[in-house]
Amino acid sequence: AQSVTQLDSHVSVSEGTPVLLRCNYSSSYSPSLFWYVQHPNKGLQLLLKYTSAATLVKGINGFEAEFKKSETSFHLTKPSAHMSDAAEYFCVVFFSSYNTDKLIFGTGTRLQVFP
């Protein structure tokens, strides 16, 4: 069975310090993994995706994530937080078979950035 676990519901950092948002997944298949960000009153925006190419994936706004199969993890990082990074972040697994398409969302991590 496929599942996604975001290990922290809230993360607080100071501006200019590194960001780490943790995600672990479970999948019987080779997964497609995504990180999305949602700012207040907006829809989801794709940050980056892993689809079995390079294990270190670079996304928008300086974010990157590393796919580690041995640890079943896909943690999101950024070297230096900016105030505009404050938002909710979702780790997502997507799989597609001949008769179904399914998105599995993590519960989300709210990132706060302090001046």
Binding site: S32, F34, Y36, Q38, P40, N41, K42, G43, L44, Q45, L46, K49, T51, E88, V92, F94, S96, D101, K102, L103, F105, T107, G108
Partner: protein, 113 residues
Amino acid sequence: NAGVTQTPKFRILKIGQSMTLQCTQDMNHNYMYWYRQDPGMGLKLIYYSVGAGITDKGEVPNGYNVSRSTTEDFPLRLELAAPSQTSVYFCASSYSRDTNKQFFGPGTRLTVL
């Protein structure tokens, strides 16, 4: 409590045909969203609505229309289907701006030939 429901589950259209993808939620959520997901890609926001009578464009609105006459329903209309609209469409809803966790429907797989 069914959550978010979408119909149909699958559909094949010819170029130039029109159709409406239905989305209904029974959670009294104000916010509703339509996304498309292309193979190997992430979700892209087509349209969203913050309440009945209010809709706004997302990232990829061209070729689509929406309406929100009730809180429960948020149909997505394709007027002139094109092969580029072949995708999986997900409808989602959330309660308010302060609770941004979205509930997703099961998806509609659309193929335009």
